[in-house]
C-alpha cells in the first residue's frame, strides 16, 4: 500500500519499532527509481582496490549504482574515479574491463580524455568549434569525494556527504578485521586477480540484509556443512573459535553499518585453523599469536559477515571477500565479488585460500548457491498483489539490544546483541532498513548525519 507524505518510509513502509517491513520496497519500480536518486548518489560506495591499478595509466572499470565508472591512476600517480561517459554524447569512453592507457578516447566522435579526466583531444577544435569550446568545462565527470582506506577505494557523488572516516564511525574497527593483515599489522592486504561478476534475479536488498546479520539462515546451508568444504576438512569453515567465544551481532544505528563478530575468552589462545594444510595452519598460528600481542584485548575479536551501508558486503574471515550488490532494476542485482589475501603471505597460503574461496562463494560456491536460490524466490514472492499486502516479519530479538556491551573486560563498540544463547536476532536487519528508510526520506546530509546532533 502506498503511503503518501514526507515520511513515507520511516513513517510507514519500514516500521522498525514493530519489526515489520512492507514487501513493496523490494519490488516497486517507483521505489527503485527513488533509491537510485536518494541512496546511491549520496552514500559511499566501494569501487575497487588499489592493488588493481598499481601503475600510472592502469584502469579498472567498475560501477556505482547502475552507472559505469573508471577507476584509474594518472601520470602523477593520483587515483581517480570517473563516470564512464563522454561529455559530448554519452558513449562509454572505455569498454574494456581493465588495462593500461594514456588516454580514454570516445569511439563516437573522437573526444579524448587524459587519465586525470581532462579533455585533451577534440577533433576539428579549430575548424568545427572555431576554437571556442571551453575544454576545461568538459572533463570526465569525477566523483565528489574519493578515499583510499587500507587499499580499498571508496567514492561518493555527494560533496556534502561526510568524509569516509566519519561515514564509517566506529564501524571502522570491524572493517579493519577484513583489511588488516593476519598478524595484526594495519592494512597489507591485496585482492586476487579476477573479479567475479554475475547476475541474480532479486532486489539488491535481499543480499544486503543477509550480510547485515542474518544469523537465522544457517539451516539453509546444511548441505555444504554436511559435505565439508571447510579449510580443516569439515563443515564450511573452521568453527572452533565460534564455539568457545561469544557470538555477537553489532550495529551502528546512526550509520547503518552492521556486522557479526566473535569474541574469544580472555584466557584462551585462538584455536587452530586451516588444518587441511600444515603450511597454512602454521602460518595462521604464528600470525594469530602476533596479532594477539599487537592488538591486546581487541585481538580476541574475530570478524563475521557484515554490511557497510548500503551495498558493500564484508566477509572478514573464511572466506575473506568483499562483494558489491549493484542494482540492476528492482528485480535484478549484478554481484561483483573480490577476494582478499595478505600481500606478503607465502604463495602456498594464497593458493590454498584462493581454492577455498571459490568453492565457498560465487556462483560455483557451494555455500553462496543456496543463498542465491533463497533470494531469488523470496524476491519473486514479494511481487504478488496479495503477497504485497502482508509485510515481512523482522521482529526477532526486538528489545533485547545492549549498549556498552562488555565481556571479560573487553568493551565492544556499537549496539550489540549477544546471540550466543539466544541463537539469533534480526536487530542488524532492522538497523539496515532503519538507515535505508532515513536515506529515502531525508532531504540532505544535514538530516542524515544524526550523530553530529548528539550532545
Amino acid at each position: 500500500m502506498a503511503i503518501a507524505g514526507k515520511r513515507r518510509y520511516t513513517g510507514g513502509l519500514v516500521d522498525v519499532a514493530a519489526g515489520q517491513i512492507s514487501r513493496e520496497i523490494f519490488v516497486s519500480d517507483e521505489i527503485y527509481a527513488e533509491e537510485l536518486e536518494r541512496v546511491f548518489t549520496r552514500a559511499w560506495l566501494f569501487v575497487g582496490h588499489e592493488s588493481q591499478i598499481p601503475k600510472p595509466g592502469d584502469y579498472f572499470v567498475s560501477g556505482m549504482g547502475e552507472e559505469s565508472v573508471i577507476l584509474c591512476r594518472d601520470r602523477e600517480d593520483r587515483v581517480h574515479v570517473f563516470l564512464n561517459s563522454c561529455r559530448h554524447r554519452g558513449m562509454k569512453v572505455c569498454r574494456y574491463d581493465e588495462g593500461n592507457t594514456p588516454v580514454f578516447t570516445c569511439p563516437y566522435h573522437g573526444w579524448s580524455y587524459a587519465t586525470d579526466g581532462k579533455l585533451a583531444g577534440v577533433p576539428y577544435f579549430r575548424e568545427a568549434y572555431h576554437s571556442k569550446l571551453d575544454r576545461s568545462q568538459f572533463g570526465l565527470v569525477e566523483v565528489a569525494q574519493l578515499e583510499i582506506y587500507k587499499g580499498t577505494v571508496w567514492a561518493t557523488w555527494d560533496p556534502s556527504a561526510p568524509s569516509f572516516l566519519e561515514y564509517l564511525g566506529e564501524f571502522r574497527r570491524y572493517l579493519d578485521l577484513a583489511l588488516d593483515a593476519w598478524d595484526g599489522r594495519e592494512g597489507g592486504t591485496e585482492v586476487l586477480g579476477g573479479v567475479q561478476k554475475w547476475l541474480i534475479p532479486c532486489n539488491w536488498k535481499f543480499p544486503a540484509e543477509n550480510f547485515s546479520g542474518d544469523s537465522y539462515h544457517n539451516i539453509s546451508h546444511r548441505s555444504v556443512d554436511l559435505v565439508g568444504i571447510g579449510p580443516s576438512g569439515s563443515g564450511r569453515r573452521d568453527m572452533r573459535e565460534r564455539l568457545i567465544g561469544r557470538r555477537l551481532q553489532i550495529c551502528f544505528p546512526d550509520r547503518g553499518h552492521q556486522t557479526g563478530a566473535y569474541v574469544l575468552p580472555s584466557e584462551e589462545p585462538t584455536p587452530p585453523a586451516y588444518q587441511h594444510s600444515p603450511v597454512v595452519s602454521e602460518y595462521f598460528r604464528r600470525c594469530e599469536e602476533q596479532r594477539r600481542e599487537r592488538l591486546g584485548a581487541w585481538g580476541r575479536v574475530t570478524g563475521a559477515p557484515g554490511e557497510l551501508f548500503p551495498n558493500t558486503a564484508l566477509h572478514p574471515r573464511q572466506p575473506r571477500s568483499i562483494a558489491v550488490w549493484h542494482p540492476r532494476g528492482a528485480h535484478r542485482t549484478e554481484v561483483w565479488r573480490w577476494y582478499l589475501v595478505d600481500a606478503d603471505a607465502p604463495p602456498e597460503v594464497k593458493d590454498f585460500l584462493r581454492q577455498y574461496y571459490i568453492r565457498y562463494s560465487g556462483p560455483a560456491g557451494l555455500t553462496e548457491q543456496d543463498d542465491m536460490e533463497n533470494w531469488n524466490y523470496a524476491h519473486a514472492a514479494s511481487r504478488g498483489t496479495i503477497a504485497r499486502r502482508h509485510p515481512y516479519s523482522y521482529e526477532q530479538g526486538l528489545g533485547f539490544e545492549v549498549e556498552n556491551y562488555e565481556w571479560e573486560g573487553l568493551r565492544i563498540p556499537g549496539t550489540v546483541m549477544d546471540v550466543t544463547d539466544s541463537k539469533s536476532s534480526e536487530h542488524n536487519l532492522r538497523n539496515f532498513y532503519r538507515r535505508w528508510a532515513q536515506f529515502m526520506d531525508a532531504n540532505s546530509w544535514d538530516e542524515l548525519a544524526t550523530w553530529r546532533r548528539r550532545p
Binding site: Y96, G99, G193, Q196, K197, S223, V227, I229, I358, Q369
Partner: protein, 181 residues
C-alpha cells in the same frame, strides 16, 4: 599399408572418443553423478577461467589464469565429489528440486595423441557444448562454449585427466553453476 592402418586407427579413435563424450553427457543428463565421477582420473584438474573484455593487443589479459587467479572453477576430484554429495543430500536448495539439463556436445576434434594413434595412451580433445538447463518453473539457462580435455587410457577405458571449460560469457548470466560442464 602403414598409412592405411594409421588412417583406420585414427578413424576408430575419433569415434571412440566421441562415444565416450556422448556417454559422459548421458550420465550427467540422467543425473548418474557417481558414475560420472568414475570417469574422472583421481588427479583430474577441472577449471573454468573468467573472461575479460580487453583491448586488441592485450589479449593475454583476456582469461584469468589457472592456479593463480580467481576462476569460476579451479579444482580437483575431491571438490567435484563434494559437489555431487551436496546435490545428493536433498537439501541443496539450488539443486532441489533437481534441474532438468541437456548437454549437447559437438565439434569433437582430436588435437594430439601420444604416443601414437595405433596405441593411444593420452589424447587431447577439444569439443563444443551447448548446455540447456531448465529449473523449477520457468528458469532457463543456455550456456555455450568449448572444452579442452585430456583423456587418459586406464585399464582399457578412458578417464578424464583434465578439463578446461571455456564459457563464452563475461558477466555470468546464470545465477549459479550447480551443474557440471
Amino acid at each position: 599399408m602403414a598409412d592405411q592402418r594409421e588412417a583406420m586407427a585414427q578413424l576408430f579413435l575419433e569415434r571412440d572418443v566421441e562415444n565416450f563424450l556422448y556417454h559422459e553427457a548421458e550420465l550427467l543428463d540422467e543425473r548418474r553423478y557417481e558414475e560420472w565421477l568414475d570417469l574422472l582420473a583421481d588427479d583430474v584438474r577441472y577449471w573454468m577461467p573468467m573472461r575479460r573484455n580487453v583491448k586488441l593487443g592485450e589479449l593475454e589479459r583476456e582469461f584469468t589464469r589457472e592456479g593463480q587467479d580467481v576462476n569460476w572453477f579451479d579444482e580437483g576430484k575431491d571438490t567435484l565429489e563434494r559437489r555431487v554429495q551436496q546435490i545428493l543430500t536433498g537439501v541443496h536448495w539450488a539443486e532441489e528440486p533437481l534441474s532438468r539439463i541437456c548437454h549437447m556436445i559437438s565439434n569433437v576434434q582430436l588435437l594430439a595423441v601420444t604416443p601414437s594413434v595405433l596405441e593411444p595412451a593420452d589424447v587431447a580433445v577439444k569439443s563444443r557444448f551447448l548446455i540447456y538447463r531448465n529449473r523449477v518453473e520457468t528458469e532457463t539457462d543456455i550456456l555455450v562454449g568449448k572444452r579442452e580435455d585430456g583423456l587418459r587410457r586406464v585399464d582399457g577405458h578412458w578417464k578424464i585427466s583434465r578439463r578446461k571449460v571455456v564459457l563464452d560469457q563475461n558477466v555470468l548470466l546464470s545465477k549459479n553453476l550447480t551443474f557440471f560442464f
